[in-house]
Amino acid sequence: MRNSLFILVVSLVAAAVFAAALLLRSDYLLFAGYTVLQFVVLATAWNILGGYTGYVNFGTAAFFAVGAYTSVFLHKAFPLPVPVMVVVAGAVAGLLGFGMGYLTLRLRGAFFSIATLALAVVLQTVVVNWHYVGGSRGAYILRPPAGPIAGLSYIEYLFLIMLALAALSLIAARAIECSRLGYGFAAIRDDELAAEANGVPTLRLKLIATTISGAFMGMAGAPFPSYIGYIEPASAFGLPYAVNAIAMPMIGGTTSWAGPLIGAVLLGSLQQIATVTISSAVNLLIVGLLLVGFVIVAPNGIVGLWQRFFGRNRTSWRPSSKSTASASGSAASSPSTPSA
């Protein structure tokens, strides 16, 4: 499928979703849908770095909160329309991703992951001590009842923005996947040393990935304060964002754009249901258990399972020499096995 066709399909699906949301006229569904869409953006953004290049970011909440607090700051300093705030928040979070990557990406992957954990706590401490944006007491954002688009309530307007962001992130993820950039990312993920030796500019590519990934996370956070109406550091920097952003691609499958989408829609909806029917603590426990279960049992997620059972070429992705030796035993009999 070509890119333009993909863009068309995504836009049509998004339009259909929005039309359905308007027709249903249910505030709860709109709220739940917004949360799921927000996770689609976060999971896709996480996957651009984590799934494509193999660098684990534990600091999704930090980037998300930077986006959210950028819009709180702008709201207090000089109020702008939400789409502009989204762009500014994306720029700030992207810059943060770039700086973060520049400091730590020359080291082994594990250090990057640990540093992202550290980043979340440092930024949370800064925000707690920064009274202009509310400090630890949090900040209220009063949203107007009517949105700038005639006929839409403000909530519907924000829903539309998040829907557009979700569509944009999916289009970007797929475009990256099919481009030179995506092949470079995949080379880094599979064997960074070999990629470097073959002339792939690994540091530059990794910096591009952290920047894009961070920018999308920040953009997902920007409408959040207006949507909820109130924001405080403990919830904006909450671990659930980080866990979900990792669990959703892992459960869906990390190697393609479809994985995070599937994971976010499934897990996001499941959580909305579990929060209402059971309790919010139990629903987080479910996410944790699913994450651990999937990484152990189905390392390539739902997409991987699908490919294994229904795919045309059933070559599973396995980098280890031991298991590829046993797997290629069956594959070697057929002469055309595209492994690269």
């Binding site: 984590g50 193999g54 684990v56 534990f58 400091l103 730590t104 080291l107 992957g109 594990a110 250090f111 992951s113 640990i114 540093a115 954990l117 550290a118 980043l119 706590v121 440092v122 401490t125 800064v126 707690v128 001590n129 630890s136 993920r189 671990l239 980080a242 866990v243 990792i246 669990a247 892992m250 990390t254 603590a281 139990v282 987080l284 426990l285 996410v287 944790g288 258990l289 994450l291 651990v292 990484v295 152990i296 390392p299 396995r318 980098p319 280890s320 020499s321 031991k322 298991s323």
Partner: protein, 290 residues
């Protein structure tokens, strides 16, 4: 003008805190520093240790540190079990980097949420004879609730260092970090050695958890603050060296204590993480690295 006794008290409190941090970090120095297993769930197991100490103390009135010692075998078995899952699912398949990290992140999350479900988010504390006393040395006061964990922690570090350098298994643990193949040629199963070492690293959580609940009241999500601290200390001390860990821990303890004294305790959590970020950016091999 800064008052001298304020500085002295802060310095001393920092050193005592550092002794405790060494106990918190020594497990990571073994698992991350020596075995190269990025066990970010380590602090969550420390909190688990605190709750074990809390339960035994509340039910039977046993001294929390004694509970820590008694719980060592329990945590050792837990560690061995976790390593076995980790080995079979990730190391053996050769995909330990990305998915292994996600695995430990999931464990961290499950432990934390599980503790919240079981105990709620109320702060818990323990009773012991030395809790409310302190040594008064004129210009400085040493609270026993800081001194006792610090001393026991130093003892634990000394024992571990002896085990690592003098016993066969300990030396095999050091060797497994350097050359697994050579270890196999010595008729020594590297997987078994790694399992022992990882189990020992989790076992230290029983002690560290007991120290933690003696020093401060705890609630389940407190462990997250320690992720940055332990990795900062571990990196500062130059991955996998116990004396380095001790020095790194003392350094962080002093810096944090001074920050809390002069800028207010709300900035203290950022110190460890900030130090970690700076170390990673400037000197990733640690203070004494090659």
């Amino acid at each position: 003008m800064v008052e001298l006794d304020l500085v002295l008290n802060a310095l001393l409190a920092g050193l005592l805190l550092g002794g405790f941090y060494a106990a918190v970090t020594v497990g990571i120095s073994i698992s991350f520093g020596i075995l190269d297993i990025v066990n970010i769930a380590h602090p969550a197991f420390i909190i688990l240790g605190s709750y074990v100490a809390y339960l035994a103390n509340a039910a039977f009135g046993i001294d929390p540190i004694v509970v820590g010692v008694l719980a060592l075998p329990l945590f050792y078995v837990l560690g061995a079990a976790i390593y076995q899952i980790y080995y079979l699912s990730f190391e053996q398949r050769g995909q330990d980097s990305l998915r292994g990290l996600a695995f430990f992140f999931g464990l961290l999350f499950i432990t934390e949420v599980g503790l919240i479900l079981a105990f709620g988010v109320d702060y818990r504390y323990v009773q012991a004879v030395y809790m409310d006393r302190s040594l008064d040395l004129g210009i400085v006061q040493i609270p026993l609730r800081m001194l006792v964990p610090c001393l026991v922690s130093l003892l634990m570090l000394a024992v571990l260092q002896l085990l690592l350098t003098k016993t066969f298994v300990g030396r095999a643990v050091m060797a497994v970090a350097q050359d697994q193949l050579a270890l196999q040629l010595m008729a020594c199963d590297p997987v078994r050695i790694r399992r022992i070492a990882f189990a020992a690293s989790i076992a230290t959580c029983a002690m560290a958890g007991a120290f933690l609940i003696v020093i401060q009241p705890i609630e389940p999500s407190i462990g997250r603050e320690y992720i940055g601290r332990v990795f900062a200390i571990c990196v500062l001390g130059g991955l996998g060296s116990l004396p380095g860990t001790l020095i790194g821990a003392m350094l962080l303890g002093v810096v944090e204590s001074l920050t809390a004294t002069f800028y207010g305790p709300s900035w203290a959590p950022a110190v460890g993480f900030g130090l970690l970020l700076i170390t990673l950016a400037v000197r990733p091999a640690g203070l004494f690295g090659r």
